[in-house]
């Protein structure tokens, strides 16, 4: 990599501004993307990345600034304008019709016709070519509903390529993938880059930016901070640009003095992915569960929380047999699950902060069958303050909050119940660096106060930084237990994917 940027500038956004009622979402933002370049767009949640790409893709219209495409002024006002220029966006939530085939999805809205009828021969041949170019071996008439997230993502990319895309925007494409699928994604991105497509890559994961990107533009609070050559910056530089301060130590130090065994799980199996899970969890301990997506970690967690039934195996809690019949039963036993999918399973999105905070503990706020609304508000305000939840009021709808603040609301719900065993499934997924650090601190405080924590995470630095012990799962089994001192990213990955695969 050289200091001089390679390639011709294909897209230039200059001085972009956008105001929503009461909020200046963007102000003076610049972005220049070159042909055959991966350009990372970096910033905390709420920094304006989404607004910027929505302006580029025609979902929003800008209030200020200009867009140049191929040197000519481009007035993007609708999604169709962006599409005609060759700008495609792959959002985190895919835009696939699940009861249609891969080929039909790729050509949705652009079906070629021959003598007034759909030319299925061309559709299938072209779809096959596109899938081959992405190394996807699936038949083109597979229904997309049954595909894995990684496969659906490839269909989205194929869809974009079919429209002669020249600029491809990818909004946190790795957030939904396991480590193995991420490698594959990177390979595809590099291949697209080689064909001259300019790629705007949005990610929270700094490591990926160094693996993939040529240039990086940093936004903060809706303003443009800087554009740098990736070869010229360090991770610390980027963190400083992004949050405006040094991130001293993301993972707080902690006295590791595990107490007695709180939860013992032996040979736990469930109908789907978890096959044989055994471990002991001590008071004051954080166990990290590593493994690729589909290794059975989430499934095991759901059984411990009573959300799904075990097919075999035993559990004891504080030495007594424990067999939860429902999440309520688990909660009453002092166990909480922070789900992986915050929006679909964790929160009641269209309801308020106070509602979400107290929904699991209303019996404590009830006298003679009647809710003590004043006590409830006092409690909620206390947790908003303690966890520094950013919200205009307890009546605010959680759907309008950032990921980090949403996660704090989930945590407040369980903390207010005095829960002693926490299962945190991907607790910092889709959360900005600042909030991540706060969530790590909350976890650390909890462990120091004697709570026992299981943390499932696909981010290895987080697993290694936070855990006292690391359990590596593969194919529904714990294949290795590692002490903090013995765990490194390489070792964990080896066990996670299996030696055989790692060797080949």
């Amino acid at each position: 990599m050289t200091d001089e940027p390679q390639g011709r500038v294909l897209l230039e956004m200059k001085g972009i501004g956008k105001t929503f009622p009461g909020v200046k979402a963007l102000q003076g933002v610049n972005l220049a993307v070159r042909e055959g370049q991966v350009h990372a767009l970096l910033g905390e949640n709420g920094a304006g990345k989404s607004t910027l790409i929505k302006i580029l893709s025609g979902a929003y219209t800008r209030d200020e600034g200009e867009i140049l495409f191929d040197g000519a002024t481009a007035d993007i006002k609708t999604p169709a304008d962006a599409e005609n220029l060759g700008i495609s966006t792959i959002y985190q939530e895919f835009n696939l019709t699940h009861n249609m085939t891969i080929a039909e999805n790729i050509f949705l809205g652009h079906l070629p016709t021959k003598a007034g009828r759909v030319d299925w021969v061309t559709v299938k041949r072209r779809s096959r070519e596109l899938l081959d170019s992405l190394d996807v071996r699936l038949p083109v008439d597979t229904l997309t509903g049954g595909l894995s997230v990684a496969q659906q993502q490839m269909v989205e990319i194929a869809k974009a390529l079919n429209r002669n895309t020249r600029i491809l925007v990818m909004d946190e494409p790795s957030a939904v993938l396991g480590e193995k699928d991420i490698d594959n994604l990177f390979a595809v991105v590099r291949r697209l880059q080689a064909t001259g497509i300019g790629i705007i890559y949005i990610s929270h994961r700094l490591k990926e930016i160094f693996q993939l990107a040529d240039e990086v533009t940093v936004l903060k609070d809706g303003r443009y901070i800087d554009t740098r050559q990736v070869a010229d910056v360090t991770m610390d530089d980027l963190v400083r640009l992004m949050i405006g301060r040094d991130l001293e130590d993301v993972y707080p130090r902690r006295k590791a003095e595990p107490g007695e065994v709180v939860l013992e799980v032996s040979h736990l199996a469930q109908a789907h992915l978890a096959k044989d899970v055994s471990f002991q969890l001590h008071a004051g301990e954080i166990i990290g569960f590593a493994g690729i997506t589909g290794s059975g970690r989430t499934e095991a967690a759901r059984v411990i929380f009573g959300a799904d039934r075990a097919t075999s195996g035993e559990m004891t809690l504080h030495g007594k047999p424990y067999r939860p019949r429902s999440p309520r039963d688990a909660i009453n036993h002092g166990i909480a699950l922070v789900t992986e999918d915050r929006k679909r399973q964790g929160l009641l999105l269209k309801l308020q902060v106070y509602f979400n905070t107290t929904v699991s503990g209303l019996d404590r706020l009830t006298s003679f069958g009647v809710l003590r609304l004043k006590d409830e508000m006092t409690l909620v305000r206390k947790w908003i303050k303690d966890l520094r939840i950013k919200t205009p009021s307890p009546e605010f709808m959680v759907v309008n909050m950032s990921g980090g603040n949403q996660q704090k609301v989930v945590l407040a719900r369980w903390l207010s119940l005095g829960i002693k065993v926490f299962i945190l499934d991907e607790p910092t997924r889709g959360i900005d660096v600042g909030s991540k650090a706060e969530i790590y601190r909350i976890m650390t405080d909890l462990a120091n106060e004697g709570a026992a924590i299981i943390m499932i995470s696909s981010e290895l630095p987080e697993v290694l930084g936070m855990s006292d012990r690391v359990m590596v799962m593969r194919d529904g089994r714990i294949v290795k237990e590692l002490a903090r001192a013995d765990a490194s990213e390489e070792v964990v990955m080896q066990y996670a994917v299996g030696h055989e695969e790692a060797a080949s």
Binding site: P327, R344, G346, L348, L362, R413
Partner: protein, 327 residues
């Protein structure tokens, strides 16, 4: 003024802000506009006796709409309520007047039948996971058929205990029906339950996201069974009001009540997508429907055109709701 001061002022909820944020703003404005319109168009509209009449006209649909609101908040819909009411009403009338049963025992049987059908709806929705639309379409037909099998003729000579709720008393010169008071009391109880009890919270939680509610520790099946059963109870009570108002047990009753009750709920601002809704809004919605029907009658508009206008009203209300809550 310092920026801190102005920030503090911004946070103070002005009366306009409070109203704008309130879910019942739309229904209140719509009701006022409708009243003003009809008051200008017809001199007879704005009078005590006429308002008393409107309240009597809305009490049956008003009570049906209570159950409908609960069901719709949980993302369901109940098409069967009018037919459940008809069946329950015919049974009560027949037991009390033809079979000579104690009227209160007859009412109890009628309420139990209505609750049983509600429980059946709830059981099919939660147990087999069928869409509420289909389940209640089925029970609509079942209740309709059972009513016709039981009797096709109108049952008369109801004992006075069954017509008591149709009687009126005078309040400041205006006649108020006992049934109107019962309806308002039921609204009050439902409002209290939704706002001040854990059960009420559970109804909203289940409506927002049933899986997230379950993982938050809510027994979602019990909530849904409860909602459909209580809805059935309100249909049974509506049957008693229907008997009291018309003085007969009519197997033809309630034929359009399901749509009328859905109209009231939707006009009241309750979202058909669940999780959001207000029982006060439903009362206002029922009143809007009542005011329109009554006002159009006073203006001499044919009843077919009244139905036409009600249809337009519903679509307009849902459209406004959709447009204002679009992200």
């Amino acid at each position: 003024m310092s920026s801190e001061q102005s920030a503090a002022l911004d946070q103070r909820p002005g009366i306009v802000k409070v109203l704008l944020a309130s879910p019942i703003l739309g229904p209140v404005v719509a009701l006022l506009l409708a009243c003003i319109f009809f008051a200008v168009m017809s001199p007879r509209f704005l009078s005590g006796p006429n308002f008393s009449l409107i309240l009597q006209q809305v009490m049956v649909v008003g009570v049906l709409a209570i159950g409908q609101t609960l069901v719709i908040i949980t993302t369901g819909i109940d098409l069967s309520n009018g037919m459940v009411m008809a069946l329950s009403g015919v049974l009560i009338a027949s037991f009390a007047s033809q079979k000579g049963l104690n009227p209160f025992l007859a009412i109890t049987i009628g309420l139990l039948v209505a609750m049983g059908l509600g429980l059946l709806n709830g059981g099919l929705v939660t147990g087999i996971g069928l869409p509420a639309f289909i389940v209640t379409l089925g029970t609509l037909n079942i209740a309709y058929a059972l009513t016709r099998i039981y009797t096709t003729s109108t049952i008369t000579n109801l004992p006075s205990a069954l017509t008591f709720l149709g009687n009126t008393f005078s309040l400041g010169g205006t006649a108020i029906a006992n049934g109107t008071i019962l309806m308002l009391v039921l609204y009050g109880i439902t409002w209290f339950m939704l706002k001040y009890t854990p059960a009420g919270r559970s109804v909203y939680a289940v409506g927002d996201n049933v899986e997230a509610a379950r993982l938050a520790g809510i027994n979602t099946r019990r909530v849904l069974l409860g909602v459909y059963t209580i809805a059935g109870l309100t249909y049974g009570i509506a049957a008693v009001l229907q008997l009291a108002r018309t003085g007969v047990g009519d197997p033809q009753a309630g034929q359009t009540s399901n749509l009328d009750s859905i109209t009231a709920v939707v006009l009241g601002g309750t979202s058909l997508f669940g999780g959001r809704g207000s029982i006060v809004g439903t009362l206002l919605g029922a009143l809007i429907v009542g005011v329109f029907r009554n006002g159009l009658q006073l203006l001499g508009v044919e009843s077919t055109y009244q139905v036409l206008i009600t249809g337009i009203l519903v679509i307009a209300a849902v459209s406004v709701d959709q447009l204002t809550h679009r992200k």
